[in-house]
């Protein structure tokens, strides 16, 4: 039993292929995120599930029923739009009750369920307000309540936090996720924001040019990206072309422009040119005098960027390699005491280096 099943969906606009043979199943109250840059086909995919875009080929199934040829009103999906699309001529209660009115439910039943769902999103006291009198967060809750009242098989969210400021966004993200969990409703969420995707999702689909570049849990996507595109999109800053010099059972030694590193990444093939990714938060600063074996590399601090909870240090290595390290900003951390121009020794553990 799956709530949503996308089977090799393709959407072409003339010669442009917006979605290219995408497969995805969402079930059992899962929260799945379609993540990618603009134009990657994530919104088109969501709109295909919602019934606003007809796939060029492939099938869409909702609750094990083929809905590919069905219009939105026959799909029982709860769609929350980017700008909420609240009806400006109806008050909150009428907005939320709209789905029940379309289903010809009795007035008394409608009023009861509207009251219930409004108290669930903590808006019971605002039921007679017009949408224009509400704050952004309140409008979003109305949109959510309106979508949920029809008891949809799946909740579809199209960048719902885009219009909110950062503090409210963080708050709404937790609130939405709690509500989604307590209702146990399968959810497909579209965003271009990695942090949002990482913090909310059970699974993430990173999309690129209409295809699923990688599908996995947030930690898989972040820690083990399978391509340069995914690594770059997830915000990794240290990505290099390298040569695999030697492979042993413990790992491999690689060379970036002649500077040697050691990695335990399993995919190394001797003699091949590959892409190496070094995660900034795993780069350690060796205190002067401390002997940490041959894994240390000499570097010069080229720049410091203060980010509040972390400090980002740009390191300049020999052979013109520039490396970004990120240190937690604590009293004792070496990173916060560094000065631009200082010579340092950095240790790059084998598990921090990943071959793509």
């Amino acid at each position: 039993m799956s709530d949503v099943e996308i089977q090799s969906a393709v959407k072409k606009y003339g010669r442009f292929t917006a979605v290219d043979s995408l497969d995805l199943t969402v079930s059992g109250g899962e929260f799945v995120t379609l993540l990618g840059p603009s134009g990657c086909g994530k919104t088109t995919t969501l709109r295909m599930v919602g019934g606003f875009v007809r796939p060029t080929s492939g099938r869409i199934r909702i609750s094990d029923e083929d809905v590919t040829d069905k219009p939105p009103q026959k799909r029982k999906v709860g769609f929350v739009f980017q700008n909420y699309a609240l009806f400006p001529h109806m008050d909150v209660a009428r907005n939320v009750g709209f789905g029940l009115r379309m289903a010809n439910r009795e007035r008394s039943e409608r009023e009861k369920r509207v009251a219930e769902i409004l108290s669930m999103v903590r808006l019971g006291h605002l039921s007679d307000r017009m949408p224009s009198q509400l704050s952004g967060g309140q409008q979003q809750r109305v949109a959510l309540a309106r979508a949920l009242i029809i008891q949809p098989s799946v909740l579809l969210l199209d960048e719902p936090f885009g219009a909110l400021d950062k503090q409210l966004r963080d708050h709404m993200r937790v609130e939405l996720r709690e509500l989604q969990r307590s209702l146990g409703i399968s959810t497909l969420f579209v965003t271009h924001d990695q942090d949002e995707a990482l913090s909310m999702s059970d699974r993430i689909v990173v999309m690129s040019e209409g295809k699923a570049a990688q599908l996995g849990s947030p930690s898989e996507i972040y820690e083990r990206p399978n391509s340069k595109f995914v690594a770059e999109f997830m915000g990794h800053s240290n990505i290099f072309d390298c040569l695999v010099e030697d492979v042993s059972k413990d790992g491999a030694s690689i060379s970036l422009n002649g500077v040697g590193f050691f990695t335990n990444s399993p995919s190394a093939r001797k003699g091949s040119r590959m892409t190496a990714m070094i995660r900034p938060e795993n780069i350690e600063f060796a205190d002067s005098g401390e002997k940490r074996g041959d894994a240390t590399v000499a570097a010069t601090v080229a720049g410091m960027e203060y980010l509040g909870s972390t400090v980002q240090v740009t390191l300049s290595l020999e052979a013109g390699i520039s490396l970004v390290a990120r240190q937690t900003n604590t009293e004792s951390a070496t990173g916060s005491k560094l000065r631009t121009g200082q010579n340092v020794a950095v240790r790059i553990p084998p598990e921090a280096v990943r071959l793509l």
């Binding site: 019934g51 606003f52 219009p71 999906v77 769609f79 700008n83 001529h89 309106r146």
Partner: protein, 269 residues
């Protein structure tokens, strides 16, 4: 508006100029209205004595009653038809294929700028062929050709600023395509619809040239006024003009004072 840096002289000149323009526009109408209240049997300004004599004359005249009735009936048939067709056209131009959209738009609003005498002649030729001239079957479509462009423009402007995701939201909540337009789109673009309806009514009610071609024995109000003027200039014509002016100005006032109408439809700022 005056700000702290504008010169007082410049501001005064602007004020004088504005007053002149307004006077130029209003004065002929004002004189006509004043004349309509004359108690004499001829038109003069200012009238030597005042009375409601000519209004009584007009309101009791079978000719004026019949022609006003025909004009009202015509406007009442034309307005809903114009609104329905114009709204559908505006939707088609807003949602239809983008290819050829501009050309189609230009074509559909062209009756606004084409000389009405040419339109009238063309419609008259067709009406003759079809043997329908001097009937409502000819008058209604003839008026529609010139009223529909106004609906296309006012409703089109409202649709331009309408967010289509609201229709999609309604559909995902169970509304049919038609239902989503009926419950969501039309109420939201209502200011444009009202503006289009009022324009249609006023234009149909005032229409002269095209109706003149088509009418043989029928007399709409503008036709009756014209033929009366051909024979004699009596104060009754001033009274009729004043009454027509009152209806038109009243409807325009509704249009203006519904603040939203002016703002949202984008026709009157």
């Amino acid at each position: 508006m005056e700000n702290e840096y504008s010169s007082r002289l410049g501001y005064r000149l602007l004020l004088i100029f504005t007053c002149l323009v307004i006077t130029f526009l209003i004065a002929p109408l004002a004189i006509l209205v004043v004349q309509s209240f004359t108690a004499e049997s001829y038109l003069s300004f200012p009238p030597p004595s005042y009375g409601m004599r000519w209004y009584a004359d007009v309101l009791n005249s079978a000719d004026w009653q019949d022609s006003a009735g025909l004009s009202l009936l015509l406007a009442c048939i034309v307005t809903p038809c114009s609104l329905a067709i114009g709204t559908m056209a505006a939707f088609a131009l807003n949602r239809g294929p983008s290819r050829g959209r501009r050309a189609m738009y230009a074509l559909m609003i062209s009756p606004m700028v084409l000389p009405h005498i040419v339109l009238g002649l063309g419609i008259f030729r067709i009406a003759l062929e079809l043997n329908i001239s001097d009937t409502m079957i000819a008058f209604v479509p003839a008026h529609l050709t010139i009223t529909i462009p106004f609906v296309i423009i006012t409703v089109g402007a409202s649709l331009q600023s309408f967010d289509i995701s609201m229709e999609e939201a309604a559909q995902s909540l169970g509304a049919s395509k038609f239902g989503s337009v009926w419950y969501v789109t039309l109420p939201i673009i209502r200011p444009g619809l009202i503006a289009g309806a009022i324009f249609s009514f006023i234009i149909s009610f005032d229409e002269f040239i095209i109706t003149f071609f088509l009418a043989t024995y029928s007399r709409t109000l503008p036709l009756e006024m014209f033929s009366t003027l051909m024979f004699q200039v009596k104060p009754s014509i001033a009274a009729v003009s004043s009454l027509t002016l009152a209806v038109t100005a009243g409807l325009t006032a509704i249009l203006m004072f519904r603040g939203q109408v002016a703002g949202e439809s984008g026709v009157i700022k």
